[in-house]
């Protein structure tokens, strides 16, 4: 057994070739790890992290978009509701207006018809009065003449004269019409 400083190292004394081999072999492994294996893993991890982050961002964006769409939809809905109510309101007022208009129109029409009827009646009345006025005078004088022309003592005759006069009057009025 080799000794160092007069101490027997026994199995603790390294064989120099083994020491060198250990360093060299480990160096090779380290080189492969550092150049190939660890970069591969780290690259994948970085990619994964980026992808997860990207996914989260994408999801957040989609959520924001959805919220925005919902907000817009709600706005639209409220707008539509408001519009509908204003339209209804308008229709109501318009309907009332139309009704009132119609009513006044009907009223005026009725008034107009009434007025023309009244006017016609008045005109006819005036005409009747006029014709009466002219005829009554003549008739009265006719009747008077006849009564006077006939003998007044004969009651029978007087009665017949009156009757005749009335019949004449009736027939003349029948011709006139």
């Amino acid at each position: 057994m080799t000794t160092i400083l007069e101490i027997d190292l026994g199995p603790l004394l390294p064989a120099f070739p083994e020491f060198v081999a250990g360093i060299v072999l480990f160096g090779i492994i380290y080189y492969v790890m550092a150049k190939v294996v660890v970069p591969r893993f780290e690259e994948t991890y970085a990619e994964r992290a980026a992808e997860i982050q990207g996914g989260i961002e994408k999801a957040e964006m989609a959520q924001a978009e959805a919220a925005e769409a919902l907000e817009r939809y709600r706005d639209q809905l409220a707008g539509a509701r408001e519009e509908a109510s204003t339209i209804r309101e308008e229709a109501k007022t318009q309907g009332a207006q139309i009704l009132a208009e119609m009513r006044t129109q009907a009223q005026s029409e009725a008034d107009r018809i009434l007025a023309t009827a009244k006017m016609q009646i008045e005109a006819e009345r005036v005409q009747a009065v006029q014709s009466l006025r002219t005829e009554v005078g003549g008739l009265a004088t006719d009747l008077a003449g006849k009564i006077v022309g006939e003998s007044l003592d004969d009651d029978e005759r007087a009665r017949r004269t009156v009757d005749r006069f009335i019949a004449e009057l009736e027939s003349s009025s029948g011709e006139r019409v």
């Binding site: 199995p11 603790l12 081999a21 492994i29 790890m33």
Partner: protein, 270 residues
């Protein structure tokens, strides 16, 4: 032996009998070409080389064609990679762990594979039961943690940080400085190497005792010896399981301590 030799793997086979009892000589290297005069070209070196190839090929295969959504193979690789990267590196080193991930992953997988060689039926020897390999890795770790410390704080600043801890009265420096030098620059690497070596050396010695001793007892004519030999061989299996555990644990510890030492060198104040 006969059939038993096929079922229960033994180092050196029957010739081990002439080396009884097992001891340091059981770990003597066996040159691949005994007559060529190249004693350094032995089974341990072959093992270490094969281990290196396994580690490299395994990591290259696992990390090939990586996808953002991992398949089973990639998932397994990531679990192992994360164990070292996050469980060891990030825990100890904080935010600058990424720089040291290759070193830690290489360290962990190299030690792990070589330790498991102790229980693998074709090799049956942990490479690190040869102290030279353990010294090699300890030296590299020593260079690493001192190197990053000097690079960060400068030689003077680093030495001051490592030997003169804050909050110690200057009067005590007479004691503290030699102690810190001993602890940080000598004891650390030596214990690192010896812990790994001794665990595997002793563990493998136990395996040899149970397997070879059991076989020898089984070959005796006495019936009681045969029973004792059978029991001893059965006991070898729990010992194997224990040795697998120890092998994994030692790989982990070596890596964790390396990360710790680097972290202490990088620390703002010790």
């Amino acid at each position: 032996m006969g059939l038993l030799g096929l079922i229960i793997p033994l180092e050196g086979g029957g010739e081990e009998g002439s080396h009884w009892p097992p001891g340091v000589h059981s770990f003597d290297p066996k040159p691949l070409f005994p007559d060529a005069g190249m004693d350094w070209l032995n089974t341990y070196l072959l093992q270490a080389v094969i281990g290196t190839i396994i580690v490299i090929v395994m990591w290259l295969w696992v990390s090939k064609d990586q996808k953002v959504v991992p398949g089973f193979k990639q998932w397994c690789g990531e679990q192992l990679y994360n164990l070292v990267r996050n469980g060891i590196g990030r825990d100890a080193l904080g935010h600058d762990y990424k720089k040291f991930t290759p070193y830690l992953v290489a360290l962990f997988s190299f030690i792990l594979v070589n330790n498991l060689f102790g229980q693998f039926f074709l090799t049956m020897f942990p490479t690190f039961s040869r102290v030279g390999y353990a010294y090699a890795l300890a030296l590299l770790t020593w260079l690493l943690y001192n190197g990053v410390g000097i690079a960060k704080h400068g030689l003077g600043g680093y030495l001051k940080m490592m030997t003169m801890p804050k909050g110690v009265p200057p009067l005590l420096y007479i004691i503290i400085i030699p102690l810190e030098i001993l602890s940080n620059f000598i004891v650390r690497p030596v214990t690192l190497a010896l812990r790994l070596f001794a665990n595997l050396f002793a563990g493998h010695l136990v395996v040899i005792v149970f397997v070879v001793g059991g076989t020898m007892l089984l070959e005796q004519t006495s019936f009681l010896y045969k029973i004792a030999g059978g029991a001893s061989l059965l006991m070898a299996y729990p010992i194997f399981a224990l040795e697998i555990f120890v092998g994994v644990l030692q790989a982990y510890i070596f890596t964790v301590l390396t990360a710790q030492y680097v972290a202490s060198s990088l620390a703002e104040d010790h």
